[in-house]
């Protein structure tokens, strides 16, 4: 499945990685531009207006995080961050600064391709307007009526659980850090009580997932947060 014509900017100071990504993405019909440092990246964003940015964090001079921040200031172009850094904190930092998704190096090409697909699809959906009824497999959520159904059966959710589900669906495909979810659902005062979140996610999963121990919709992103997947 290709999204012909979608423009992707690949930013990485490692030639080998840029080349590999460019080749594969082009083979799938994308239009690929490359940049090897932050300055070039920002210029390219201004010039080519890409639909998606694959951004390496470990850039010389102008850091990937800084690029991410600046791009986010101007637009909501989806940014997928690629990085070797493996501590939780770095990932969370990137996501909090506006990145939508995070891929660890070394990565498999298929993983990147899948994430690119998801990100582009959701951008398209957001641009075409928020859908009042969301459907994904057995799950159906009617935002206007505040009604949730699984396999046609009504599911009772507490107000918090509903808000949580709504936040996840609204940002589907993107990684939501714990911080983001806490802020969106509980407000800014509850930033540190992350365990509330996990408890509610657990409860939510038990209610809407066909197999709660192997979640299909609400996916855990190791140590960072959660993501709603509608694939």
């Amino acid at each position: 499945m290709s999204k012909s014509g979608a423009r992707i900017l690949v930013v990485d100071d490692e030639i080998e990685i840029t080349r590999a990504l460019q080749r594969s993405l082009t083979a799938y019909g994308y239009d690929v531009f490359t940049a090897s440092n932050g300055e070039e990246a920002l210029e390219s964003v201004a010039q080519h207006r890409p639909d998606l940015i694959l951004l390496d964090l470990g850039l010389p001079v102008l850091s990937g995080l800084e690029v991410c921040k600046r791009v986010r200031e101007q637009s909501s172009t989806p940014i997928i961050v690629l990085s070797v850094k493996d501590t939780e904190r770095d990932k969370v930092q990137a996501l909090d600064l506006g990145a939508d998704d995070y891929v660890s190096k070394p990565f498999g090409i298929n993983e990147v391709l899948a994430r690119v697909r998801v990100a582009l699809r959701h951008t398209a959906q957001v641009q075409s307007g928020t859908v009042p009824i969301f459907v994904a497999g057995p799950l159906q959520v009617d935002f206007a009526q505040r009604n949730v159904q699984v396999d046609g059966k009504d599911i009772k959710l507490t107000p918090t659980e509903y808000d949580l589900l709504k936040a996840l669906i609204k940002n589907r495909g993107k990684i939501m850090t714990r911080q983001m979810l806490l802020t969106q659902v509980w407000g800014t005062g509850y930033g540190t009580e992350a365990h509330y979140l996990h408890v509610y996610i657990g409860q939510l999963r038990r209610k809407i997932e066909p197999d709660p121990s192997h979640p299909r919709f609400i996916l855990t992103v190791s140590g960072v947060g959660y993501r709603f997947s509608d694939e």
Binding site: P106, T158, Y190, A194, H195, V199, Y200, H214, P215, S222
Partner: protein
């Protein structure tokens, strides 16, 4: 050398000289008169003309027990009383007959000779016993110090021994100072009190340092004013009450090893110890030193020897440690090099095969090469992860960034991710319902479970089941990963958690490559689990296979609450 007074008064303590004159005179007089009385009353003279020899007995006895003075006095009194009461003319002091004079003279000579002999003998006997005591003291010192391992204890023994043995020379207390690693002197041992509670004044320290640099004995006197005197006593907790009034001073003596000064001994001396010990230097001949000085310096030499010995031992240990660290490091490097290069070898082999120009590979084969490259890359990635974790654990830079998570989430996450490696096996998960959230660093726990599952997969036959369970026991969450493999040899149950340890001789089944992994996996698990305050261990299952278990602490609040909602809903 016998002084004249030593001969006059045998075994005389120094203060009692005047008293001794009196007692000896009285004794001599009484005994002589007693003998005279006996002779007179028994009318033994001139019945037995040689009866005067009785006096000789007394003279001898007193000369041997009391000294020359007593025997001389006895001779005189004996002669006079004999002459007065028994020799004609009676009751007069005339000495008519020559034999009387002869008797007197012979008595005198006898007294003098035996007196000297007796005193000489006694002196020698005393010296011999003193030598014996010294030899014994030294022997005990050597014995006591060699049975102690630590230098501090040894020095304490020495300090106490010095005070014990040299108290008669005016030594009241003894402390030993040694240079520390920075070269500055520090108090290492003291005879009367705990080192940790003793302080040393700046003056004392400076004096000690001078002694260190000059190698000479230096005295330090407390100030004349009462004020300083009190201050001096203030940091001594035990004061010798009987000598409170005497003026004390400190004598700093260098501890020498050859020509080098390796420490300082601080003696607290009472007034009379003025000349002890005398200085010694390389030019001095042995005979010039007084005997007691020699004894003292022998003590000190023993101490220097001990200190030197301790120092050499320390150096040896350091060298040993360096050698071991070195060999460990090179073992480490060669092991890491091997384990990093093995997957790289597979990758290179596959990639270069694909590049062969003169071979046309079919699609199946090409795909197989590609799969190898992908799989080995993953393996290399895991290895690098383990190495990084290990170096972080070792360097103490591992700080779990803890958050509350439900543990089953981690378990499911890992199991899902490892689907490829766990292919063809049945994975049973038994996660109890009342599992409370635990405070963990997600990535680190992920790593622990990944490593354990990887181990289970690697060392068990393909297709054999793996069970993962989690339950609450005794206020802790216990996670177990059990397999149906060959188990672990009982001796290795602890050692497998060591770095780079691999169980030898495990049969490798199927197409598993040999010696996978560096043996770091379990070491990393232990480091990470313990950083979370938990424990990890391995055991063999009664009906075959191995089980790895680890615990994570839980706060009591959460045990009761289980998964119950918090006040926000």
């Amino acid at each position: 050398m016998n002084t004249f007074e030593d001969v006059l008064f045998l075994g005389l303590p120094e203060e009692r000289r005047y008293l001794r004159y009196i007692t000896d005179t009285v004794l001599a007089t009484v005994l002589s008169l007693l003998i005279t009385g006996i002779i007179y009353l028994g009318k033994l003279y001139p019945t037995i003309p040689n009866i005067s020899f009785l006096y000789l007995l007394v003279v001898l006895a007193l000369s041997v027990t009391r000294g020359l003075y007593a025997s001389l006095v006895t001779s005189l009194i004996a002669f006079l009383s004999f002459d007065f009461t028994l020799v004609q003319p009676l009751f007069t002091f005339t000495i008519a007959k020559t034999e009387e004079w002869l008797a007197l003279i012979i008595f005198m000579i006898t007294a003098i000779v035996t007196g000297r002999l007796a005193s000489g003998l006694r002196q020698r006997a005393m010296q011999a016993s003193a030598r014996e005591r010294e030899a014994r003291a030294l022997y005990e010192l050597v014995n006591a110090t060699t049975s102690e391992d630590r230098l501090g204890q040894q020095l304490d023994i020495v300090a106490k021994a010095i005070v014990e043995n040299f108290a008669s020379f005016g030594v009241c207390d003894c402390a030993i100072l040694l240079p520390g690693t920075t070269g500055r002197l520090a108090l290492e041992a003291d005879a009367s009190q705990d080192v940790s509670q003793l302080q040393i004044s700046l003056d004392e320290m400076r004096t000690a340092e001078s002694v260190m640099s000059q190698g000479r004995i230096i005295d330090l006197y407390a100030g004349d004013e009462a004020g300083t005197g009190v201050a001096y006593y203030r940091f001594r907790r035990i004061v010798d009450v009987s000598r409170q009034n005497s003026q004390r001073y400190m004598r700093f003596v260098p501890l020498q090893q050859g020509h080098e000064v390796i420490g300082v001994v601080r003696l607290v001396m009472s007034e009379k110890g003025r000349r002890f010990p005398t200085e010694r230097n390389a030019n001095m001949k042995q005979e010039q030193l007084g005997h007691n000085d020699t004894f003292f310096w022998t003590f000190l030499d023993q101490t220097s020897g001990m200190i030197e010995h301790a120092r050499l031992q320390r150096e040896m240990l350091q060298i040993e440690l360096l050698k071991r660290t070195d060999s460990l490091r090179s073992a480490l490097l060669s092991s890491v090099s091997h384990d990093l290069r093995t997957p790289l070898a597979s990758i290179k082999a596959s990639a270069s095969s694909l590049l062969q120009e003169d071979v046309e590979w079919d699609d199946e084969t090409k795909r197989s090469f590609a799969i190898t490259i992908e799989r080995e890359s993953d393996r290399l990635n895991r290895l690098v992860g383990n190495l990084l974790d290990m170096s972080r654990i070792e360097g103490g830079a591992l700080k779990p960034e803890k958050e509350w998570y439900p543990i089953d989430e981690v378990i499911h996450d890992v199991v899902d991710r490892m689907r490829g490696i766990l292919q063809g096996r049945e994975i049973q998960t038994h996660l109890s319902d009342d599992l409370p959230p635990v405070e963990i660093d997600y990535l680190q726990m992920d790593q622990v479970i990944t490593n354990l599952l990887e181990n289970a997969a690697r060392y068990t036959p393909i297709g054999s089941p793996i069970e993962v369970s989690a339950e609450v026991i005794d206020g802790e969450v216990k996670i177990s990963i059990a397999d149906r493999g060959p188990g672990i040899p009982a001796d290795d149950l602890e050692r497998i958690f060591d770095k780079f340890y691999r169980v030898s001789g495990t049969p490798r089944k199927g197409n598993q490559s040999s010696t996978m992994g560096t043996g770091l996996g379990l070491a990393v698990c232990r480091g990470l689990v313990e950083a979370h305050g938990g424990h990890i261990w391995a055991a063999n299952r009664p009906d075959g296979g191995a089980i790895f278990q680890f615990t994570l602490p839980v706060s009591p609040f959460h045990i009761q609450q289980g998964r119950q909602a918090t006040p926000l809903s």
